[in-house]
Structures are given as structure tokens and as C-alpha cells.
């Protein structure tokens, strides 16, 4: 064990792999020392595990209706009570974690690389390319994201895939802005000039050098944005435009529980707690990552 | 004057760090009459911290302790924050390094100087304005009426520093602490500003603590010199007696300065192991 420890804290690594692992080790160490970030990481880990092992974590079948057991209070049999069709809410929340995770991951996978690339290209080339791309980006950025997403989903039709596409389309401009700003800070630096002098094409420079340098701020931004994405998706679900019934999407569940909020408050509030917990988790983790990876931005301690 | 203007004994300034508490000032002692004392040291020597701790400006998590910190018979250690506010500006003042950063950017020059005055005295508006103009004139700013209406970013560095001096001297304090007052200025302007400080301090019979990293500068403007290194005073002498300094650090500093009739091929580099006591 001591050997691994010293290998991971070596000041002069022998291979790139070792250097990367050292960095990872240092980052996780710094994160672990930040209590909030650690909490956030734990929450996200629990989200992932719950989603993966949903059939085991859930106590009942999320889709199984039992009209004799409608609207039961939370109890040891039903940890979060049952909804108006007798379905166990805890199990629905657990399976809803899958949906949430899918939405969040897909949006990130779609929007972040697109934004990253566009911003990097704009920042690297400058001139009219920059102005054109940033003009488009700024137009998107000055528009209300939620409203646009709503309109898009209205046009495309309700459903979880369209919700994902709509949210992704409204998210990429934010990432483009950041990666452009990052790119411009080192666009004129000497190492970039050196690579270009070696004959690297713009394509290679961007892909091989610019993009990797933007990654850390991207990771921070994406993590912090996850909360917003979850809330937007829940909002879409609440209105009825996201995942369609009987899928246990958290926003839709809140909408269903709305009619009995007075007497059977748990139907609507439990999914809300899940949303809040996961959002907070991403916020804590994102803040912690920002302190570690990008201490220049955000607060100065 | 039966007691010195300022008496400091065993002053210690400590900051908590991730590796345990660290002393930036390690128990220094000195006293000051109505004279000019220079404190010389490099960055990190603790000289600025000394200046700020006299004004009790060091906020938590930093802590200031001393056996004695007396100003004109007043025990500064025992003063409440409210009492300190009455002393700051009115009796002890400090000129800071860079007017670009130390002047409030959204207040006019005149307003800021006036604030220094009316914080401690109730005066009619007209009299305040006259005193501000008079003070601007005494720091050799011609056309004070116009300058008083300007914002800090509209004046040059040298003028900004003169504004700072005006602001700090208008309440007529007894002790002035000048924390690297010319380090941010062009060389051509430095002499001018120093002259002004020198002149005003002499005229009003104030005590001056001149903090700087420039040994030569300090030796020409001060009566006595304290050399600080790593939070300790390593040398204390009269300005004229600097050649006779005994501590190796001071000797190294002196010899590292090129002379006009320099004969050496290379300037000596300080070998810090000679006095390192980490």
C-alpha cells in the first residue's frame, strides 16, 4: 500500500499514465478534504448506483397498480407511501433516478462537446469566424432557455427524447461561451505558436491541444449546470411534455400528486425531495471541483 | 515629551496556515520619537505587517500580540475598535503604496480627502472645501479646485499619491506610517513625492515610519533605520552609520547595491543560509 502511495505522489512521473493518475489522485484528495464536495460526490454516487441497481433498491414494481392500496401514508411497507393508482412511490422515485440520469447524461453528452468545439473554433480563429459563431451563440444566450425548450418540445411532440434534444439545444451556447473565453486566454501563448511552427494544422491544434486545455473548466461548468438541467427536465415533465406516463419521471410525479397535495402530501413532495437532493449534490460537487480545478474563477477564499 | 511617541515591545503577528500557525512578525521591539524611522526589508520580511499592526488593522484570522504597544501614552492593545477609529486618521495615519488601488474609484478626490477630515471634526461645508483645497496646494497640486472634482482614474500616478498624502495628513496626525509610498511610482516622480512627505513631516513635527525595500532611499530620508528579515529586526542603527552595520544580511544588502564608481564585475548574490533560522 505504501508503494502505491509513493507512486501516486511522485514528483517526477515516468509515464503519461502515471502523471494522469497522480493528477486524479491529487484532485480527489483535495475534493475529499472539502466536506461539501465530498457530500456532493456521495450523493451523485448514490444516484448512479440507485439508477444502475434500481430493481434491487426498489421495494416494489414501479408500474404495478393496486387500487386497493391507493394513497397510503409512508410506512414500513411503503417507505414513501403510494400514489393514486396504488403504486409504491419509493420504487417510482428509484426508477425515476434512471430517467433523471439518462436525461442529464445525454444532454451533457450532446450539448457540451458541441459547445466546446464551437467555442474553441471561434476563440482560436478569431476574426469573422469568431464574430459569426459568437453572434449566433449570443442570440441563443439572450433568449429564455426554458421558454425555448418548451416551444421546441411543443413542436417536436412530447416525449423524453424530444425533451432531451430541446434542453440540449438550449444548453450548448453557455458552453460555447466558456470554451471560447478559455481558448482566447492561451491562443497567443508560446506553446501554441510552437506547435504551429512545427506544422500542425488548425484541426490538430484545436483537437489535440486547445480542447484538452478547456476540459477542466468545462467539467466544472457541466457539473454545475446539471442542477439546472434536472430542474428544466422536471419542469417539462411537470407540464406534461417530458417523459410520458406511466414512466416515473419525477416532475410528472409531482404533477400527478398536485390534486391531493392537501391530504396526501407525500405523493407530490417526495419526488421533490429527490430532485432537491440530486441538484444539491451536483451543486456541491461542482463547487468543489471549481475550487480544485479552476481556482481563479468563483470565490476567492 | 516624557514618553516616546511610539513604543513597541515584543510585537508578534501570527497567521494560521494549513501547516500550523506562522509568525510573520516575530517579537520585534523599537521606539520612536518625533523623528523619522525607516523599516527596510524584502517582501515577506514583515515590515508592512508591522505598520498595519500599529493601527490594529490586522483582522482575524491574524492575531497581534505584544508586551507593549503604546502610542503617546495610550495603550493601543487595550483600545476598543471604536476607540481605535478615533485614533486612526486623527492621530496615526498611513500612506499606502499604489493610488491606483488605494483610492476609492467612485468618489471624487475632493470627497475622499474631505471624508478624512469630517470623520473626526464637525466643520461647515465651506470650511471643509477650503481646507481640502489648501491641503491639495500643500502637496504641490496647482489648480486644486479642478483636481478636487476629478476621479482617481483621471489623475496620474504621482498626483494620485499626492492626493493620498493630502488625505492622510489633512487631519494633522502625530504619526505617519508610509508603506512603500513611492514603490509604484515612476522614478522621476519618486523624488518629488518623497520631498513632499519630508517637507510636511518636518513642518508639522510628526513622527514618520518609512517602510520600504529600498535601503538607499531609506538611508537618505530617515534618521534611524531598522532592517527586518523574516519577521525579526536584524539591525538597528542611525542612517549615517549604515556603513558600519554588523549583521551579515545588512552587509549583503549594502554590497548588493551598485555604486556609481563601481569596480566589481559582478554584484554579490545574497547567500541566505548565513542567517537562516527556519
Amino acid at each position: 500500500m505504501a508503494n502505491v502511495q509513493s507512486w501516486l505522489t511522485d514528483d517526477s512521473p515516468d509515464s503519461r499514465l502515471q502523471a494522469r493518475l497522480i493528477r486524479l489522485y491529487r484532485i480527489s484528495g483535495a475534493l475529499a478534504r472539502n466536506p461539501l464536495a465530498a457530500v456532493g460526490a456521495v450523493i451523485i454516487l448514490m444516484l448512479i448506483l440507485t439508477a444502475i441497481f434500481a430493481p434491487i433498491v426498489a421495494t416494489h414494481d414501479p408500474l404495478l397498480q393496486d387500487l386497493t392500496k391507493r394513497l397510503l401514508r409512508p410506512s414500513s411497507a411503503h417507505w414513501m407511501g403510494t400514489d393514486e393508482l396504488g403504486r409504491d412511490i419509493w420504487s417510482r422515485v428509484v426508477f425515476g433516478a434512471r430517467i433523471t440520469l439518462v436525461i442529464v447524461v445525454l444532454v451533457a453528452v450532446l450539448a457540451a462537446p458541441a459547445g466546446l468545439l464551437i467555442g474553441a473554433v471561434a476563440g482560436y480563429f478569431g476574426g469573422w469566424v469568431d464574430r459569426l459563431l459568437m453572434g449566433i451563440t449570443d442570440i441563443f444566450l439572450s433568449m429564455p432557455k426554458l421558454i425555448l425548450a418548451l416551444a421546441l418540445v411543443a413542436a417536436l411532440g412530447p416525449g423524453i427524447e424530444n425533451a432531451i434534444i430541446a434542453i440540449a439545444i438550449t444548453s450548448w451556447p453557455g458552453y460555447a461561451r466558456i470554451s471560447r473565453a478559455e481558448t482566447m486566454t492561451f491562443r497567443n501563448s508560446e506553446f501554441i505558436a510552437a506547435i504551429r511552427l512545427q506544422g500542425a494544422s488548425a484541426f490538430r491544434v484545436i483537437l489535440g491541444h486547445v480542447l484538452p486545455l478547456c476540459t477542466s473548466s468545462m467539467i466544472v461548468r457541466v457539473t454545475l449546470d446539471m442542477a439546472g438541467i434536472i430542474l428544466t427536465a422536471a419542469g417539462l415533465g411537470f407540464i406534461g411534455l417530458g417523459a410520458q406516463p406511466p414512466l416515473p419521471e419525477w416532475g410528472a410525479m409531482i404533477a400527478r400528486g398536485r390534486s391531493f397535495i392537501l391530504d396526501q402530501w407525500w405523493v407530490a413532495t417526495m419526488p421533490g425531495f429527490a430532485i432537491i437532493a440530486v441538484s444539491l449534490g451536483f451543486c456541491f460537487l461542482g463547487d468543489g471541483l471549481r475550487d480544485v480545478l479552476d481556482p481563479k474563477s468563483g470565490e476567492n477564499h | 515629551m516624557s514618553h516616546p511617541l511610539l513604543a513597541v515591545e515584543n510585537l508578534r503577528v501570527t497567521f494560521p496556515t494549513s501547516r500550523g500557525p506562522m509568525d510573520v512578525v516575530r517579537g520585534i521591539s523599537f521606539s520612536l520619537g518625533r523623528e523619522r524611522l525607516g523599516i527596510v526589508g524584502e517582501s515577506g520580511s514583515g515590515k508592512s505587517m508591522t505598520g498595519r499592526s500599529i493601527l490594529k488593522l490586522i483582522r482575524s484570522p491574524g492575531t497581534v500580540t505584544a508586551d507593549r504597544l503604546d502610542f503617546d501614552g495610550i495603550d493601543l492593545l487595550k483600545q476598543t475598535e471604536k476607540a481605535m477609529r478615533a485614533i486612526r486618521g486623527a492621530r496615526i495615519s498611513m500612506v499606502m503604496q499604489d493610488p491606483k488601488f488605494s483610492l476609492n474609484p467612485v468618489m471624487t478626490v475632493g470627497e475622499q480627502i474631505a471624508e478624512a477630515l469630517i470623520t473626526h471634526q464637525r466643520l461647515a461645508r465651506r470650511e471643509v472645501r477650503e481646507r481640502v483645497h489648501a491641503m491639495l496646494e500643500s502637496v504641490r497640486i496647482s489648480d486644486p479646485q479642478r483636481v478636487a472634482k476629478l476621479y482617481p482614474h483621471e489623475v496620474s500616478g504621482g498626483m494620485g499619491q499626492r492626493v493620498m498624502i493630502a488625505m492622510m495628513l489633512i487631519p494633522e496626525p502625530d504619526l505617519l506610517i508610509a508603506d512603500e509610498p513611492t514603490s509604484a511610482l515612476d522614478v522621476s516622480v519618486q523624488a518629488q513625492v518623497l520631498d513632499i512627505i519630508d517637507d510636511l513631516v518636518r513642518r508639522k513635527g510628526m513622527g514618520l515610519i518609512f517602510i520600504s525595500h529600498d535601503l538607499n532611499l531609506v538611508s537618505s530620508y530617515c534618521d534611524r533605520i531598522l532592517v527586518m528579515n523574516s519577521g525579526r529586526v536584524v539591525e538597528e542603527c542611525k542612517a549615517g552609520e549604515l556603513r558600519g552595520a554588523t549583521h551579515p544580511y545588512t552587509r549583503a544588502l549594502i554590497s548588493a547595491v551598485p555604486r556609481l564608481n563601481e569596480t566589481r564585475d559582478e554584484l554579490p548574490v545574497l547567500d541566505r543560509s548565513a542567517w537562516a533560522d527556519q
Binding site: 429564455p144 413532495t269 | 488605494s102 473626526h120 476621479y151
Partner: protein
């Protein structure tokens, strides 16, 4: 709900409010540039709504002629609707019709969309305005206080509030608030803008119930409207104050580290003045931008809230239209909300640059 602005205004540093020197031509140039930028952004919004309208999988011609119409009728209708022309021409016609106020007819209400929007917008405006007032008057002092008492319990609490304002879904909070404060505690009025028996008693002059009730001198109606407005405005206000407090705190922390704040302390200035005159004043301008952005965000966020409170505003209108696939209404409402949103953002931006020309 995290309806927070994406574009964070340029934070701290030494902000200067400079008296305009060298105006005239430069000012005009600035105004022209501003107008062009606004126009381009609006055009972009129109392009997006136009595009969305065309992406709809419903054939607009069929919607008009019905799916049993013979081919000739279909073709005639298609030509009449201009759908045979190239996309650019269609877009220009679209822009023209929007600018002349022609937003189509709502399928659900049967009335012109513009008329509908004029009717529902004031309700949202009233709620959002009260919300931003709460947000500013509570959020700013909270942020200042948290920064000046950094690390204290109050600071931690305010930071937590700021965090929750980012993580809680607005519609959930509205629902919980309604259940708690209306159903359980009966401290506030229920859904809708007025109790049922007051409905329709006040002539809508401005559309803002509080103003209209005062104009007619109806004290009861005024207070009833207030009791209904309090909860939804407070929910919006909560999110607004969380954001504003966070930004204010962040700005103030930067400010309190500035040298000129130390200078003020050296002068012996009281702590209260140090905080407000020396630390706070320089951030007034970026803070205005922050508040503007928050206001725009509230208008957007009201979409979620209005459903819960059965509030007859533009958000509710949009939601209903969405569920009815009433595309003209959806796009019309999107356009108006988007336009107001863009407008507020641009004005905030311009205000910032006008008051602080050195920040470029």
C-alpha cells in the same frame, strides 16, 4: 427552479461611475450600435420561432382545409398561405406580420393571439414585479451582510439559502407553499388572483389588479388581491433573493479585499460607512445588471408558477397552449416572453455600459 441568468455580468474589480466626458458623437454611436444589436437579436428570436413553427409535424395546410379536402382546394390554400414560396420569402412575410401585430389566432380561445396576450401579460407582470421587489430589498442586504460577516453563522445560512434557491424546483415550492400557507394555515388567499365573488368586479384599466383596485377605490378588492398575490410573488421572490444575495455576496467579498476599503479604515471611517460607501457603492452598477437579469428570469420562471396558482398570466396561457398543441398561441407567447426577456437583458447591459464606460 434555476431560472437564473446564464450570462453573469462582469464581476468586481474597480468599477468607476464616470461622469460622461466626451459625449455627443460617441453617445449616438453607442445608441446606434445598441439598436442594431437589439434588432439582430430580435431577428434571431423570430428566426427561431419561425423555424420551430415549420418543424411542427402537423401540416398547417391540412389544419386549415381539413384532411378530406380535394387536391385543388389543398393547393389553392397552400398558395394562399404562401407556403409555395421559398423559405426566405416566407420568413420575411412572417417578420412583417409579426411586426404589424399579426400573431395568428388561437385555436383554443378563438381570438387573435395578440389580444389574448395583451389580456394575460399584466397578471404576470404584477407577480414578477412584486417578486423582484422582494428579491432586491431582501437579497441585497442579505448579500452585503453575509459578506461583511464572512464565516459567521448568518453567512452560512445565507449561503445555504442561496444554494437552495438554485436547487429547488419552483413549481414544487409553489405547490408546497400553497398547501402549507393556504390550505393548512390559511394565511394567504388561494389560487387565482381574486376570490371568486370579486371576480370581474374591477374594470381592467392597466390589467394590474393592485393599481386598478386603487383607481376604483375598492379597498376590499385591493386587499383581497394582495392576499392572493403574496404567495406566488414570494415564491418568485425567494428565487430572486437567493440569486441576488449570492451575487451581492460574491461582489462584496471582492470589494472588501480591495485596498481602498483598507484606506477608508485607516481614515477612521465607521464600519457602516466602510461597507456601504466604500465597498458597496462601486458594485452598484453591476448589481443593477444582476437585478435586471433576475427580473427577466422571473418572467421566464412564472411559466412554472402560474399553473400551480391558476394565475391567468402569460405563463399559464403558454402552458395551456402547449398542451393543446395550439402552435400560434405557443409561438406568439414565446415571442412575447422572449422579446421582453431580450429587452430587459439588453437594457441592463446598456445601462451597465452607459453608467460605467470604463468597464470595456
Amino acid at each position: 427552479m434555476a431560472f437564473e441568468p446564464d450570462t453573469v455580468p462582469i464581476a468586481a474589480g474597480a468599477f468607476k461611475i464616470m461622469p460622461d466626458s466626451g459625449r455627443g458623437l460617441r453617445f449616438l454611436g453607442g445608441v446606434a450600435g445598441f439598436a442594431i444589436s437589439v434588432a439582430i437579436t430580435f431577428l434571431g428570436l423570430l428566426a427561431i420561432t419561425f423555424f420551430i413553427g415549420r418543424v411542427v409535424p402537423i401540416d398547417p395546410v391540412l389544419a386549415v382545409v381539413g384532411d378530406r379536402a380535394p387536391k385543388a382546394v389543398y393547393e389553392a390554400a397552400r398558395i394562399e398561405m404562401g407556403l409555395d414560396k421559398p423559405a426566405i420569402v416566407q420568413f420575411v412575410r412572417y417578420v412583417g406580420s409579426v411586426l404589424s401585430g399579426e400573431l395568428g389566432t388561437s385555436v383554443s380561445t378563438g381570438r387573435p393571439v395578440l389580444e389574448d396576450l395583451k389580456r394575460v401579460f399584466p397578471a404576470t407582470l404584477e407577480m414578477a414585479t412584486l417578486g423582484i421587489i422582494i428579491g432586491v430589498f431582501l437579497g441585497v442586504p442579505m448579500g452585503v451582510y453575509a459578506a461583511s460577516q464572512r464565516g459567521s453563522l448568518v453567512d452560512q445560512v445565507i449561503r445555504v439559502i442561496g444554494l437552495f434557491g438554485y436547487a429547488i424546483p419552483a413549481f414544487w415550492l409553489g405547490l408546497v407553499g400553497l398547501a402549507l400557507f393556504y390550505a393548512q394555515l390559511q394565511w394567504v388567499g388561494g389560487p387565482g388572483r381574486l376570490d371568486i365573488f370579486y371576480d370581474g368586479l374591477v374594470e381592467p384599466v392597466t390589467g394590474l389588479l393592485l393599481v386598478d383596485a386603487v383607481l376604483v377605490g375598492e379597498k376590499d378588492i385591493f386587499f383581497n388581491a394582495v392576499s392572493h398575490l403574496v404567495l406566488p410573488a414570494s415564491v418568485l421572490g425567494f428565487f430572486s433573493l437567493a440569486y441576488i444575495a449570492r451575487m451581492t455576496r460574491s461582489f462584496m467579498l471582492d470589494q472588501l479585499a480591495q485596498e481602498y476599503v483598507t484606506t477608508a479604515r485607516v481614515k477612521g471611517v465607521s464600519e457602516r460607512l466602510v461597507i456601504w460607501r466604500h465597498a458597496f457603492r462601486p458594485i452598484l452598477v453591476p448589481l443593477i445588471t444582476v437585478c435586471g437579469l433576475s427580473y427577466a428570469g422571473l418572467l421566464e420562471g412564472s411559466v412554472m408558477i402560474e399553473t400551480i396558482f391558476s394565475w391567468p398570466g402569460i405563463g399559464n396561457y403558454l402552458t395551456v397552449a402547449l398542451l393543446n398543441a395550439d402552435m400560434s398561441a405557443v409561438l406568439g407567447a414565446t415571442l412575447v416572453i422572449g422579446a421582453v426577456f431580450i429587452g430587459i437583458n439588453k437594457i441592463s447591459d446598456a445601462l451597465y455600459r452607459f453608467l460605467d464606460p470604463r468597464a470595456r
